[in-house]
Amino acid sequence: MKWMKNLKTYVPPSFVVERDDYRCIRCKACVEQCSFDATFYDEDEDRVWNWDANCVGCDRCAAICPTEAITVRRADPTYRYNHNWNGHIDSIKKRAIFGGTPVVSMGNDRPYPIYWDHMLLNASQVTNPSIDPLREPMELKTFLGRKPDSLDISDDALKTKLAPQLELEIPIMFAAMSYGALSYNVIEALGRAAKEMGTYYNSGEGGLNKDHYKFKGNIIVQVASGRFGVHKDYLDVGSAIEIKIGQGAKPGIGGHLPGEKVSETISETRMMPQGSDALSPAPHHDVYSIEDLRQLIYALKEATEYKKPVAVKIACVHNVAAISSGIARAGADIIVLDGFKGGTGASPQVIRDNIGLPLEVSLAVVDERLRQEGIRQYVSIVASGGIRNSMDVVKAIALGADAVYIGTAALIAIGCTMCQQCHTGKCAWGISTQDPHLSKRVNPDISSKRLINLLEVWALEIKETMGAMGINSIESLRGNRLNLRGVGLNEKELEILGILPAGE
């Protein structure tokens, strides 16, 4: 029998699929939709069965079932309760049985503190008026790039030569997610939404499919250690170039797109042989120091004739402030800080769950350090990694960010249920897969509309919050920590975040 258990490799299922046989009309839609082999139809018995061990809890079957016969729920832990060993038993078993280290995806899912939820925003009452964004102008426009130390305005004209800037209608961009990690239609949707909303999407490190060159003007191209798909045309199509040093979900290690995901089109876009592993080395081998980073930044500026801002993306790690200072001095125009809750298409679990720093803390210390050194104007700061809602955006900007990247939130907008199976390439929602049968489940028309809706709603929410604070331009919120108060934080945490406790 196909679903016979194998005692040697048995680990208890994480989910249980409950099926109401009375409601089930044997349409087999769930069988067809499940890409994880967790559902199958037995012709002899005319019944649909589930193989719970394979279920990843993506909820695709429940969503598709026309008679609502299916409920997927988390399985209760089967072992005797043990606070100390909870979760580690299966983890040890898997390593012992399969002889490999588990690879996971999306962001860190451990219960670390979420500082966003310990910060409250201010509002105007009596002493200064709040502003109604529905009836009064409210400015979200943001420019990313190096700002001059001073402006020379004479004869009614600006004489200072400005460094190249990225112009954003809203301070939210789509984070680097590569074609390879994501399906073609998802990239298409991100590109269309970025164009419509006057913002940018990031190509990620996997190069750019020729079809997506049409989004020129709304693309940030990424250069990572593997240099996949990096060539003259690619650099030219980007409005900015982002050097990826690190990623919040996997600081200090390289990328690894497994050979089975390197299909013909991926091989074409990445410009590497089909079927071989796409290995991104852990470091850029031409960058072993800040001086070397400067060399790479200027190599990219030379290659694009100083017409584009160059961003450097780093994972938030212990010395993030000092590193950022170095990056600013190395000539970067934008620093992207990727917090430890940032997502990934694949990362070893131990790395994702144990390395890095919270974005909130990193933002605060980097902004403070650059201000103290008098070089904050050298760079714009983009906050990335675990931005879940519009208020995270507002708080990030108040802590010192110029703009934010959203990745996971954008995927959720187009259907992701965060089952964390991106690394398998089997995404049942058609998002993180290269299987043409699965990827056609994402309709770029509907998905781009949903992304536009999300950004428009967030923009409205940001404006309403700003209005409540009596602020009519996002510029006035930037680094404005007086509008933040901490709750449930200790004195040291408040000091590092640079905010006052509630009541003070």
């Binding site: 898997k94 996971v104 250690s225 240099r227 290659a303």
Partner: protein
């Protein structure tokens, strides 16, 4: 011929002058008195342009380049041919570290020795197939992460007391071919590559590249080909696949 005196010229101005010369349709550009200026030829696209450099160019020579030919009549520094996509670089001397990092197309010929990490993560795709010929010896980590392309090491400068390549040769190699004239000490290899004999077909390619090399540097072809070649090949296109399992 369009000549530029690079003496004391800041790299940014020098490269702008080169770009300007190309915009004015000069095809044969000669730079005199070059002394460490960075990024010469960086990002240039024009296939019929020839840049001759008299002096020692600085780091990242020909980075992201896609077309021109660069002749260096002296030694070169680090990072030449970085992420190069097409064109040709010929160095009449030695080159520094990270030669041809992530190179994807075109050719590089180096008369003498190279430093550490030569040709790492070189890759190939369809008609794109980069070739690097090094006349001398190399430092450690040569061909690390190599995913495609051809690297030929001739060892013409080899001294008896020194090895031909450094240690960690071809670590993480998962594609491409390395041909080495003479023999390689197996201890230099890490676990992802093996030493085998090249096939007749492969030797044809080696011979044609060596011929071009010998013509460029006026070296006796027959003498070079007198010695046997060995090939360093990857064991697998997926060297690390077995280390990872799908997580929860």
């Amino acid at each position: 011929m369009y000549e530029i005196d690079a003496k004391g010229v800041y790299y940014r101005d020098l490269n702008e002058r080169v770009r300007k010369a190309i915009r004015e349709h000069h095809k044969d550009i000669v730079l005199h008195n070059v002394c460490g200026q960075y990024y010469i030829g960086c990002g240039l696209n024009d296939r019929d342009v020839k840049l001759t450099i008299n002096g020692v160019p600085g780091n990242d020579l020909g980075a992201f380049m896609n077309g021109p030919t660069i002749i260096v009549n002296d030694d070169a520094q680090d990072g030449i041919g970085n992420t190069m996509n097409g064109g040709k670089i010929v160095v009449y001397g030695n080159a520094g570290d990270v030669v041809a990092y992530s190179m994807r197309g075109g050719k590089i010929f180096i008369e003498k020795d190279v430093g550490y990490r030569a040709c790492i993560h070189m890759k190939a795709y369809k008609e794109m197939n980069p070739t690097v010929v090094i006349g001398g010896c190399s430092g450690a980590f040569m061909g690390e992460y190599m995913a495609g392309g051809t690297l030929i090491l001739l060892g013409l400068t080899k001294r008896d007391d020194k090895p031909l390549t450094g240690i960690y040769l071809a670590t993480g190699m998962h594609g491409g071919k390395i041909f080495i004239r003479g023999s390689v000490d197996e201890r230099m290899l890490w676990s992802e590559a093996v030493i085998v004999s090249p096939t007749k077909e492969e030797m044809k390619k080696v011979k044609s590249e060596v011929k071009e090399f010998c013509n460029l540097f006026k070296i006796d072809y027959n003498k070079v080909m007198d010695e046997e070649f060995v090939k360093v090949a990857p064991k697998s296109t997926r060297p690390y696949g077995h280390l990872y399992i799908p997580g929860p």
